[in-house]
């Protein structure tokens, strides 16, 4: 027994290898709905050159992506689309909320604009700015890579504990009393309507 090597040794080495590989080949899914999308394009182009960090392969299908960059404001009609595309991305996946509108609703505090996408999908990195400079987006991708390298596991075990929504804890305090009143209307099944139709 004493001479038996740690049985987690191989797994941990594989975790390390997989994390390194995943962190250095993030394939973004550009969910660009507004002006932040222009900065996203600038980041991917030759002047700022996101390819230096292995994240230049923008794919317009969620099947081939593992990093969703939500750039721009998201309105109520777009939330089921956003959630569905997020659910369609293969594991492991990460999400960057780019710009003030995606992170908090920005100046658009109106009836239809969602006040931050983190209320509905998990977000790993927030980029402030209106719109953010390409350097800021690159910095957020570097930070995300660091985090993946530190905490990533081969079978994406690090996500299994997070069964609660990743929204900020103070959200109930931020919401005004009138906002806490939830109007009638069945929005709960809009993301998974197709799933329910199938079964």
């Amino acid at each position: 027994m004493a001479m038996r090597p740690n049985e987690n040794f191989l797994i941990s080495k594989l975790d390390w290898l997989a994390s390194i590989v995943r962190a250095n080949s993030l394939w973004p899914m550009p969910f660009a709905t507004a002006c932040c999308g222009i900065e996203l394009m600038a980041t991917a182009s030759s002047r700022y050159d996101l390819a230096r960090f292995g994240a230049e392969v923008m794919r317009f299908s969620p099947r081939q992506c593992d990093l969703m960059i939500v750039a721009g404001r998201v309105v109520m009609k777009m939330v089921p689309v956003l959630q569905r595309i997020w659910l369609q991305m293969p594991e492991p996946k990460w999400c960057i909320s780019m710009g003030a509108c995606a992170s908090s609703g920005g100046v658009f505090d109106a009836y239809a604009t969602v006040q931050g996408i983190d209320r509905f999908i998990p977000v790993d990195a927030y980029v402030p700015g209106c719109p953010p400079r390409p350097e800021q987006l690159i910095q957020s991708i570097i930070d995300l890579q660091d985090r993946i390298k530190k905490t990533g596991t081969l079978m994406a075990k690090e996500f299994e504990q997070r069964t609660e929504p990743d929204r900020p804890k103070t959200i109930a305090l931020q919401m005004a009393p009138t906002e806490r009143v939830v109007a009638p209307g069945d929005f709960q099944t809009s993301t998974r309507a197709w799933e329910e139709k199938k079964t």
Binding site: P62, R84, L87, Q88, P92, M155, R192, E195, T199
Partner: protein, 147 residues
Amino acid sequence: MLFAQTATPIQTPAGFEPAFELTNYYPIYLYLGFCLLIPIAAIVGTHILNPKKKTAVKLMPYESGMDPIGPARHKFDVKFYLIAILFLVFDVELLFLYPWAVIAYGEGNDAWRANFGRIVFWEVLVFLATLAVAYVYAWRKGVFKWR
């Protein structure tokens, strides 16, 4: 060198040159082997070693996040193909006419010009007449009517 030179060098006016030997080119095959091995290993490795969750939402067709309407293998009306084929006919016609016109009346020497201007000219007319017959036929068949 992994393989020794076995064949004798060939004498040329400039000096001795090594004889051709297929075994000298083995790095190309090694390279090809690695070129195949690396993508296959990447695809198979990620297929085995990745977390998978096959939910109904993930397996549904991707229509930019919307509900798909109808099947993906949708049948198109045959009139689209007729239009495409007709376009191709006249496209190919132009493709033949341009080089002929350039050689017959522009570039090329006098002998060419004479031949292309006389003999080939009639051939081109026959070609155009064939296409005109096809055009009239298509017209009479009602291909240009959008039904």
